[in-house]
């Protein structure tokens, strides 16, 4: 088998205050996969995500991205390879215009001039926001801001796109538009979410993190229809949603 895009082995981490968030997490994601990372609040999902691009240092175990270990010396390249879209677009978009914001990442990588401009417009095009390049981000709707946030990461041509709660606070139309954009991208995807129908729609595979360990890893249909597993880890399907009625995808 080829080198996984994401290779997490025995990852453990405790916060400085002594709170242990991860107890030996193993996770492999291969090229082109779309994986949902599910789990109750406080399961350690965000902590795990912050290890993927070296914001947090592993207490034990290792993380590698396409074979490159996440260490201090590799941070620059790791952060190009792993694109994280945070939950609140207002945290991610801070430049005066959409164009400047999308250019921020590649400019940090040393890209300039026409090449920069080309990549910025390509990324905005992929999320359908090219017409808004010169608008200030805070004048856009929430759904538009989330799409621009995705573009700010896509522009770095990451090997894996990590999304933290991509559907939160979106109205149903924006939620669907984002789903269409995400399924249309040719990129490996890891999506942290509580939105189980969204996970089912977008991700063929799901990983359940609970109390700092991976407790399930398999086809999303199997995870969502395993009632004992779901109940044991505070996962609940929303009212009226039944994966069995939809069937395997």
């Amino acid at each position: 088998m080829s080198t996984p895009v994401l290779d997490v082995q025995g990852l453990a981490f405790a916060y400085p205050d002594g709170h242990q968030a991860l107890y030996g997490v193993n996770l492999h994601v291969h090229r082109g996969e779309r994986v949902a990372l599910l789990g109750p609040n406080g399961a350690g999902k965000t902590t795990l995500v912050l290890h993927l691009n070296g914001i947090l240092d592993a207490g034990a175990g290792s993380v590698a991205v396409s074979g490159l270990p996440v260490t201090k010396d590799n941070l620059r390249e790791i952060r190009r390879r792993v694109g994280i879209v945070f939950q609140d677009p207002d945290d991610q978009l801070f430049m005066p215009t959409v164009r400047d914001d999308v250019a921020f990442g590649p400019a940090n990588l040393g890209i300039r001039g026409g090449e920069l401009e080309k990549r910025v417009m390509e990324a905005l095009d992929k999320v359908g926001m090219a017409d808004y390049a010169d608008r200030p981000p805070h004048h856009l709707s929430f759904g538009q801001r989330r799409r621009v946030a995705v573009a700010t990461v896509l522009v770095m041509e990451p090997e894996i796109l990590v999304l933290d709660e991509p559907s939160s606070n979106l109205d149903p139309a924006s939620r669907r538009e984002l789903a269409e954009i995400l399924t249309g991208l040719d990129v490996t995807l890891l999506m942290v979410t509580h939105d189980l129908p969204y996970a089912f729609e977008l991700c063929p595979r799901s990983v359940v993190l609970s109390d700092g360990v991976v407790v399930a890893d398999g086809p999303t249909y199997d995870v969502l229809t395993d009632d004992a597993l779901m109940a044991a880890h505070r996962l609940e399907l929303p009212f009226g949603f039944d994966p069995r009625a939809i069937g395997r995808r």
């Binding site: 694109g83 945070f86 801070f94």
Partner: protein, 226 residues
Amino acid sequence: MGQGHGHKLHFHGHSPVHRAAPHHKLLALLGFTLVVVATPKDWFAAYGLYLLLLAAVVVVSTVPPTYLLKRLVVEVPFVVFALLMPFIATGPRVEVLGVSLSEHGLLAGWALLAKGTLGVLASLTLAATTEPRDLLLGLERLRLPQQLVQIMGFMIRYVDVVGDEMRRMRIARESRGFTARNPKHWPVVARSAGALFIRSYERGERVHLAMVSRGYTGSLRQGSDR
């Protein structure tokens, strides 16, 4: 959510004043203010000249004078102080309409009023004719340290976000039957301000995290990177 479009001080236009390079405008404002402040209090004609000069710039800029005059209210605290000066200053006194006023106070009050108004009016004219991001660009060209330019950039970007948060907190307070009417209510308002501060601080940390995730290493160029 409910954010106004455009910054409240900027008046959109395409006049020569709007188009002038931001760093030239900044230097002009600085020079003008220094000259005004350095002018002796009793050179009354000079102040008239300054006002004419400023009025000419406003006319060329096509910004409606009422637009600027309305925003002059920020000066009110200084005006109050300037009006008080003739009453509270000491020294020789003169009778004006039967009220005994201090000569020094009158002159000092006049100077404060004249210099303050000219300075505020000039700054408002700059703000009305220059986009915030162009101002940052101008400051950068004037070699203001990067860190300061970045801090101002973040301030401009997040002033609406924090203002919105403050407004939502007020609405939430009022929805639970609280309105700050007298000093007894101040502790509640103070605690809200504290919560807002902590939230903003945490947001700052999250923004930094998002920046680092995109390879931020300490330098940030305002626009003009193409």
